[in-house]
Structure formats: structure tokens, C-alpha cells
Amino acid sequence: MLILSRKLGESIVIDGHIHVKVMRVDGDVVKIGIEAPATVPVHRQEVYEEIQRSNQQALTKQSSPLPKLAGAARQLAKPAPKTNLSKP
């Protein structure tokens, strides 16, 4: 891992087009500003990992029984919302 020391307001440039700047340091909280092209996804690692774990837990067998929904959700489900997929 490359480790760099940066002062407040200083930046790092990655691959010429991604800028990472130290915006604020407050105790053990560091505010980081990231400027990247719209095509570069930037995520908090814990959110990414949380979704990954949730997916692993969600994978199931198609034969498994589905829960019955109560109340409003069942009502709402009746006139199914727009879920058409037109084949290309």
C-alpha cells in the first residue's frame, strides 16, 4: 500500500483525472473531497460490504416458500405497478 502524508487542503491525483483532497480534520474524523469523472463509482466501503453480505444472505432456491404480505403492501400489489419489459 502506498502511504502519503497530506496537510489540510492538499490533494492527491490518481491517474490524472481523480482528485482526492483533505477538506477538514476534526479529531479522528477526516473529511475527504473526491473529484472523479461520473463513470468512476465511489462508495463508502462499509456500505459496499453491507450490500455484499445482504446479497449472500438473500440468495436462495427458487422452490423456497414466499412470505405472505400483510395489509397495505398486499393491497398495493393488486394493480401491479409498471413492470413491463419490452424485448429488444
Binding site: 397495505a72 398486499r74 413492470t83
Partner: protein
């Protein structure tokens, strides 16, 4: 292949299926890219997102707006571009359901699957306003099987 064939996931008698290509896979399952969306009228509002090569492995998905009508996911511009979405109506949103037991099921609202209705390309998107929502938003499950 016939053109302009429309898949309806509404109340038709037989299950309807539709192939979905997820070039980036699903987080944690990046290697699985081909899925089939199977909608059975008896099972609505649930829909199966089945792994194409495997007859049994599947995710249960649901239209998140059925559960949370005022759900307002912010989709990152990179994902809008990746999916080729020109209009909000181009997108089919599905939340992955986790069945936690007989009386508990949750839906992931932080990372919905978004599918372009026209190209059938999909991606699990981490919404920009993810902190506002839960990965385990509880579904209103009926106390007992009716």
C-alpha cells in the same frame, strides 16, 4: 426472434420470463451475469431473479415502491449512463428480498437492481442517498400463512 414482444409481469395466467444481463453481476456474485426474471401471478408482488445457468439458485425481488411508496433512490450518473437510461420510465427497479424466517422478510433499499426495460441490461446500484435507507427494510409479513 419476434420483435416488439412485450413481457407483462402483471396478472396473466402463466408465469412470464424475461432474460436480464447484468454485466457487473450482483455484489458478492460478480461472476454470475445472466439471469432470468420469472414472474408468477400467484406469487406477486414477489418476482424471481433466477440464475440462468442454474435451475434452482435465485434471488427473490420486489418492486420497492410497493413496500415504500415514497422511496426516492438517487441513482449515480455513472449508473444512469452505464444502463443507458434516458428517462425514468426506462428503469425497472427491484429490491432484493431476504427471507429471514417464517415471519420475517426484508428488502434491500440501499442497493436496488435497476434494469433498462428496453435493453434488459441490469446492475445493482448503490444509491447516492443510501444512508437514508436500510439494507434490511422489513416487509409487512402476515402473522401466519392465510
Amino acid at each position: 426472434m419476434k420483435c416488439a414482444e412485450t413481457i407483462e409481469m402483471e396478472t396473466t395466467a402463466a408465469p412470464t420470463t424475461s432474460r436480464v444481463r447484468m454485466p457487473m453481476g450482483i455484489l458478492g456474485f460478480e461472476q454470475i451475469k445472466d439471469y432470468v426474471l420469472v414472474a408468477n401471478p400467484d406469487e406477486e408482488p414477489f418476482v424471481w431473479l433466477r440464475v440462468e445457468d442454474n435451475t434452482t439458485l435465485a434471488f427473490v425481488v420486489i418492486d420497492p415502491f410497493v413496500i415504500l411508496p415514497d422511496y426516492k433512490p438517487d441513482i449515480p450518473p455513472a449508473d444512469v449512463e452505464f444502463l443507458g437510461l434516458k428517462d425514468a420510465d426506462d428503469a425497472l427497479l427491484l429490491g432484493i428480498v431476504t427471507i429471514q424466517g417464517n415471519n420475517r422478510a426484508t428488502v434491500n433499499l440501499k442497493g436496488p437492481i435497476i434494469i433498462n426495460r428496453h435493453t434488459h441490461t441490469g446492475k445493482q446500484v448503490i444509491i447516492t442517498n443510501a444512508p437514508k435507507y436500510s439494507v434490511q427494510h422489513p416487509l409487512p409479513v402476515a402473522d401466519n400463512v392465510a
